[in-house]
Symmetry: C2
Subunit: 370 residues, 2 copies
Amino acid sequence: MTETIDDFFAVIPAGGIGSRLWPLSRAEAPKFLHDLTGSGVSLLRETWDRLLPLTGADRISVVTGVAHGPAVEKTLPDIPADNVFHEIDPRDSSAAIGLAAAVLLRRHPDVIIGSFAADHVIQRQRAFEFAVRQAVAVAREGYICTIGITPSEPSVGFGYIQTGGELDVAGAPMASTVQRFVEKPDLDTARAYFADRSFLWNAGMFISRADVLLDELKANEPELHAGLTEIAAAWDTEARDEVLGRVWPSLKKIAIDYAVAEPAAEKGRLAVVPGQFDWDDVGDFASLRKLVADGRRHEVSILGENRNVIADESAGLVVSQTDRVIAVVGLDDIIVVDTADALLVTNSEHAQRVKSVVGTLHARGRDSVL
Amino acid sequence: MTETIDDFFAVIPAGGIGSRLWPLSRAEAPKFLHDLTGSGVSLLRETWDRLLPLTGADRISVVTGVAHGPAVEKTLPDIPADNVFHEIDPRDSSAAIGLAAAVLLRRHPDVIIGSFAADHVIQRQRAFEFAVRQAVAVAREGYICTIGITPSEPSVGFGYIQTGGELDVAGAPMASTVQRFVEKPDLDTARAYFADRSFLWNAGMFISRADVLLDELKANEPELHAGLTEIAAAWDTEARDEVLGRVWPSLKKIAIDYAVAEPAAEKGRLAVVPGQFDWDDVGDFASLRKLVADGRRHEVSILGENRNVIADESAGLVVSQTDRVIAVVGLDDIIVVDTADALLVTNSEHAQRVKSVVGTLHARGRDSVL
């Protein structure tokens, strides 16, 4: 049993519906509340369990929508009520993480925070912990530190982080500066990055002193910073609801990559530690298929308890939430998602298009199945 | 309004589960009880309606399994009870049609019978009637006459009938002798047949004097003929159930093509009239897809009332028997059959393999969904 890190607080933004995983993921039961790995617990719970050895149960906070508060508290019975931050509406990652940073900074002046998505899948716990401990050491020196994932393939689905020179920080032997952030590349570029080895996937993990993060936000998005500061000042007082209700809806929606990480990289204030663990953001059913298949590409993988799935000369993924018989015949890359009130049939190549179905259903007024 | 044919009796064998159309077609609700054309009535009812102008309601008989008797009588409220022949178990077409022929011959000594499958789709009623009237005229001369379908494509899914010399029969200007029967050909052969134009599809329609049919059966399958004769003698008496129960299970299972038509062709006693109408045996979901698509090959066709089907960049067939939302994304030849307790996903190319799923389900003891 290794020790927790005294001045470190994890922040888990648990928002996002995961439209590309519809009809498995729904507004009322988003991706982070689902067990996508067959582990028996939800992705949020897996995230909590993964962070616990680093923080203990008292220093993990979750930022989530008001509607999901009860589900989060049920999933994480040990979370202190003060550590659950309710968003009255989703305003992207800068507001979510910035809110937690601002409130936690008032409560713990020297706190280092790390943000970890609620709905990613990570395997190899020791490697994960090693990366986070290094990142905290780097953050303690005043850097904003990200954990970049060592690519396992030339993916076009992720942004990349190009590492720069080595950093000399005790306890962080693998740390480097960040040379630049790059958006999702085309396949040729991705292949070049993959061959290069200095490019890592951007997994959206940022570890930083709360004051450093907020200073960077203030430099780039002063209005957003001012709003968050006002909310944070009122948070642990009776004025919280009034201020939140007035200020929150006015906050700019912007990803933390743009509001904090990229500008910090330009100033040489962004560092990176390579994460040499398996990481998957399970962004769509193609990704889920790979995860569930676990290398068995020529079979139909099943997510769910349904023993009535019959696959004949087929390969792909069946997600089953009913006890209906499901027969898949002669399809070599098929994705079937069978739920009580909605059925999706697609393939890996077109898995990204599922989001458009959600748009169509919304336009048709069928929000009851979204 | 044209006149019915006084000495003509239609026989509709309504058996067969249609395993290749599972889970739409079930043991308890076989293909012939379904509306596969969107007409609002079942295929059996369409068959009845098609024959009615030729026979009237008193001269159409149906041979069906005991279990389907009530459904048949509900579908055809005008059918005289005496014209429904119940099979105690399915024994193929020679027994089914032979039973009707033998019983009808005792009731109507000069009767001409014509057999028409309960679960085929035919369009162009006038052309159909013209073909049947010609076939009856030919049958009256002592021939066994089939109606061969003018091919619309080089199909490998059907047997072929090669026409021979013209027959000089009044009222049957298109009639020929049959040169030979051929089993389902390979694609090259099918293409040659299609180019040749003397080859017609075997649609299993046979029109003949009942005594001529039975004589041919007697010559080729004397035991089967003897059994049917014994049953027919008892049919309209109190002994029916006893004789049927004793003799029927011993009858040889053989298709009428082999027991009657092919031997008759060899003897020059088989004639053919070309059927210049649209005919489809709807043998599998690929065939059903074509039928429902009606030329619109680049869309997702829907069989069922479901207005919640969303097709995005897809083409194929969705059969919907529930009110669930069904989304099909990025699949250019997909077949989805969604029923309350079973779901099938396949494509046109593999539609024939659906039968094996039924076998697998049976082997797993899941007959409740078959």
